[in-house]
Each structure stands twice: as C-alpha cells, then as structure tokens.
C-alpha cells in the first residue's frame, strides 16, 4: 500500500491515471475474492454487479433517471445507490439461486448465462446508450469542490480500496467469516451445526456484489465512460483470472493479482499483441494446476 501511495510522487501523470484504474479493478477483485475465496461461490458473472454499479452511477449523475434531479443527482448519492442497487439485485438473485440449492457447476453456468443476458440487454437498450455506452459522466464533487485532479482522484480511490480491504478483512476474521469458511469447506456439516447456509451465502453474495457495485461506480467516475462490455462475459472472465492468479483466499493477493495483471497487460500487450491473451490463458491453466492458491496467495501465506 505504501508503495502505491508514493507512486504519484514520481510525477508520471499518465501512469498515475492508469494505476487509479487498476486500483478500481483491484477493489473489484477483492469483492470476488470475498465471494469466491471465502464463501466458495464460483460466480462467472461477477461483472454484472460491477456493471450495475457503473450504470447506476452514470444514470444518476447524468440525471437520466426520471424523478431524480437537483441535489439527488450528485455523485455521492450515485455512489450510494450504485452500491445499493448491486446489493439489492444480488440479494434477489442469491435468494432465487441459493434456496434452489444450486451450487458448483450449476451456479457457474447459470451466472455465465446471466452475464450474457445482461450484456445483450445493455447492448440493445438504447436509453442507456446501447452498444456505445454512456460518456461524459461527471466527477465526484465534495462541497462543490470537484475531485478531478489526477492525484486527488488517485488518493481518493486508494483510500476507498483501503477501507474496502479493512472491511472485508474484518468480515473474514469475524465469527461470520468463520461460518463462511465452514460452509465453504463442508456445507453439509455446517448445516448440521444449525447454520442456514443459504442465508449466509446470500449475505456474502450481496456484500460482495455491493463492493463490486462500488468498484463499478468508481470506474464510471474515473474513466467517465461506461459501456456494455463491463457488464458482460469477457470482463467476468478477466476478474476471475486476476483473482485466481493472485490468490482467491487472500484479499491482498487478489488485489495485487488484478493490479499486476493489468500492469503487465499494459506493458506487454504492445510487444506481444494477440499473443498476450493466449499466454495469459495458458498461464492461468498452469496456475490452476500447480498453484491452486494463486501466486501471491502462496507467497503471502508462507510467511
């Protein structure tokens, strides 16, 4: 974290802007880590929540939702509603899925199909920009003072990341987190101890989704742009890869996974072009086979 905090002082504005974006991805990765690594819910459509957050943020701040005007279109309300909307959707989805005892591959395929549906809907819904998405999303304002400066935005996002980390870490260490681990490792046994595993899963799913929604909303303000690709299957794939490579059972590892993969991508995709994704795919397979706990996950847990 300290390394990150010092980064803008190097004075390279372009890289600072890029890194701000990567940290947003890192927050998103942590949300998946919570859902997947801690509660064992393999979700192939996590980008849905990220996308919901981003779109809600965009629509609110651009004043495009009927009945919302004036004060309520501020970025902070947008942020709040983005988180709320993602959590709300996840709650209903979770209620629908987990009480149906869907788990493992079934859940994976269902969420995969959902992410395809979400992307299709967003592409064909012209009010929210259709294929082209929405642009010119206003920046966050703090008492009329816009957080638009490159460094200020960077520190703001970094601070949010830190808060999210602390919150998730606290959650994972709490009794709630212990129960989650029990459900992940042996659901039947956890139920025999009297824990309603579906409820715990729904709760975690919603919390994870709200964090993803937060990341999405931040993404919308940072890049000032949302498009259907951030809802869809491809982006869900990417975040799974970051988290798996980093280490799904360790929050910091997932965060680093996202940031490092994106950084490498920025540097290497110029040199390797199309080969980059291929190498990433192969690397992912190797990592799943030989480092099931992820690269940073293995490193961090040895200490």
């Amino acid at each position: 974290m300290l390394v990150f905090a010092l980064f803008p002082l190097t004075g390279n504005d372009y890289l600072t802007v890029q890194l701000t974006q990567y940290i947003v991805y890192g927050i998103f990765a942590m949300s998946l880590s919570l859902v997947w690594g801690y509660a064992g819910i393999l979700c192939f459509g996590h980008a849905i929540f990220f996308g919901i957050g981003a779109y809600v943020m965009a629509l609110i701040t651009k004043g495009m939702i009927p009945g919302f005007s004036g004060f309520i279109t501020s970025g902070w309300i947008g942020l709040l509603l983005a988180v709320g909307a993602a959590a709300f959707f996840a709650f209903f989805l979770g209620y629908f899925l987990f009480y149906g005892r869907l788990s493992g591959p079934y859940l994976g395929i269902v969420t995969l199909a959902l992410s395809v549906i979400a992307e299709r809907v967003a592409v064909n819904w012209y009010y929210i920009g259709g294929f082209n998405g929405l642009t010119e999303i206003p920046a966050l304002a703090f008492f009329g003072w816009e957080i638009r400066g490159i460094r200020i935005l960077f520190y703001f996002v970094l601070a949010v990341a830190l808060c999210v980390y602390l919150l998730c870490d606290w959650l994972a260490r709490s009794p709630f987190g212990t129960i989650l681990a029990a459900i992940r490792d042996n659901e039947t046994r956890a139920e025999f101890f009297g824990f309603n595993s579906a409820n715990y899963k729904i709760a975690t799913f919603s919390i994870g989704a709200s964090v993803a929604g937060l990341a999405g909303a931040l993404f919308a303000t940072v890049t000032e742009f949302v498009s259907p690709t951030i809802l869809g299957f491809g982006f869900s794939t990417e975040v799974l890869i970051w988290v798996a490579l980093g280490g799904k059972e360790v929050l910091v590892a997932s965060f680093l996974g996202a940031v490092v993969v994106r950084m490498l991508e920025a540097f290497l995709s110029d040199i390797l072009a199309y080969y980059w994704i291929m190498i990433l795919g192969v690397f992912f397979v190797v990592c799943v086979m030989f480092f099931p706990r992820g690269i940073f996950g293995s490193l961090l847990s040895e200490r």
Partner: protein, 285 residues
C-alpha cells in the same frame, strides 16, 4: 417466410445442438468434468474445415479430418492437463476455461479475428412436400441423426458403453469391479471432443466462422444438458429439443436477440425449479 422451412431450420439447429451437448454430457456424466473448452473444440472443428477449404482440398476431406484432429487435440489436453485435476472438480472448470481462452486466442493469432466463409459444398436446393430446401441442411440433419444414433448404440449396446454407464452410475464401484477408469476417461474425452469437432465441421459452411462462434454454441448446449438432466443420455435429447426449439420459435416470432434473452432466462428458471433436470431423478446431486 414459409413456416415449414422455419420448422426444418429449427430442427436443424436442435440436432446440431444435441450433437454438441452430447459431447458435453458424456464428458460431464462420466468424468465429472465440465469442459468449458467444448465450444472451442467446436471452433477448431469449423476451422479445420476452413483450412482444408482454403488449401484447395475442399469441404469434404475437412469433414472427415475435423473430428479426428479435434479428437487428438482433446486427447492431448486430457493427457497434459485434465488428468491431473480429476480430484479437484472446480479446478477443472477453471483450467478448461483457461484452455478455451488460449485456444480462442490461438485461432485469432492464426486466422485473424474476422469471420471467414467457405464455399457451400452442396449449393443445390431439394424440393419435397411442396417446399424448396437447401440440400446441405438436409445433409447436416442426416449426419447429426446418424451420429446421435451411433452414440446411443455405443453407449447402450456395446461393452464399452456398459462400462461407461457403470462408471456414470457409480464410479468407485465400477473401478472396484475392474473397469480401467483412467483409460475410459481418456476415451470419453477424446470421443466427446471429436463430437464437438464434427458439429463444428458440419456447421462451418452455414455460418461465418469467427473465433467467438464456440461460445454461441457452448452456452445453449450446456443449458440444454442442465435442462435435460445430466444423469442420462436421453436427457440431452429432451434438453436440446427444448432449448433449441424454444430458441428457434422465439427468434422466428421476434428476433434472435430477444429469443436468446428469453430462452436463457426461462432455462435458468427451469434449472432453479428442477435442478436434477426434466428427466433426472433426485438422488444424485
């Protein structure tokens, strides 16, 4: 547009979907491996045909080479990767998914991201029952029906099929009774991949072959086996019929996009209400 032609087109889609889904379901039923790279095997089958066509050999040799090539690729993948992951169910999903990304990208590297067309192998129309219908589509249906029939024959009438069904029913017991599960897994994976390769090859002349086409078949095929139930082969027929039929019908009435959204949503609801599938029985999770 003539309605009976739509029915035939729908039937066409259903049969190819069943072909893809059947490869998936025997791999899943037997090995408990969800092969996320199955759509890419379909893709490889189609591109094998594209390659033979561009090499001047034409479509027909490609049709025979494609299942063999894809089968061999499947065998290599099983040997290098999947074999090591049999005890780790969720990891096989991730690993095959990584493979699917890598294969798709390899295809993009070699052939470029744009769609490729091949010459129609049977351009003539056949007229029967008062309608004109492309001969090639009838050919696809015949191939699909034959392959489906053959697969059923293998699984229901041969010693290998008996062993395979024993493994599906109770893997440990089958192993105790002296069935070489390792060998069976390899054969199954090869066979399943070859089926996807064949499906890709026969579909290649009908669609423009682009690197994303695998996913377009993988998801409906997977939803089909979930709808039908994973425990039996017959479930694939029901699931493929339901998903493919609904998709064809709704895209005829409205549009392909709406149909995809509606069908996927409906399937999710069906899976939620009957996780064991329409034909499955409770008992096996």
């Amino acid at each position: 547009m003539d309605f009976s032609i739509q029915i035939l087109n729908g039937l066409n889609y259903i049969l190819v979907l069943i072909l893809v889904a059947m490869g998936l379901v025997i791999i899943f039923g037997l090995m408990r491996v969800i092969n996320m790279a199955h759509g890419e095997f379909f893709l490889l089958g189609a591109y094998t045909v594209v390659m033979t066509d561009h090499a001047g050999l034409g479509f027909w040799p490609g049709l025979f080479i494609a299942p063999v090539v894809v089968g061999i690729i499947g065998m290599i993948i099983e040997y290098l990767c999947i074999r090591h992951l049999y005890q780790r169910f969720l990891d096989t999903i991730l690993a095959t998914w990584g493979l699917s990304i890598a294969i798709k990208q390899l295809v993009i590297v070699i052939f470029g991201p744009a769609g490729l067309m091949i010459k129609p192998p049977l351009p003539q129309l056949v007229s029967f029952m008062g309608i004109e219908y492309p001969a090639y589509r009838l050919f696809i249906m015949a191939v699909a029906l034959m392959t489906i029939g053959l697969t059923f024959y293998v699984f229901l009438r041969t010693d290998f099929g008996l062993g395979a069904r024993a493994v599906i029913a109770n893997r440990d017991m089958a192993a105790v009774l002296g069935i070489n599960t390792r060998k069976m897994y390899r054969t199954t994976f090869t066979f399943g991949s070859a089926l996807a390769g064949l499906a890709g090859a026969v579909m290649a002349p009908l669609m423009s072959c682009d690197p994303q086409m695998g996913l377009g078949f993988f998801i409906p095929a997977f939803l089909a086996i979930l709808v039908g139930g994973t425990g039996t082969l017959a479930g694939v027929l029901v699931g493929g019929g339901a998903v493919g039929g609904a998709d064809s019908l709704i895209s005829f009435i409205y549009s392909p996009v709406i149909s995809q959204i509606v069908v996927f949503s409906l399937v999710i609801i069906v899976i939620r209400i009957r996780p064991q599938g329409l034909l499955g029985s409770r008992g096996r999770g």
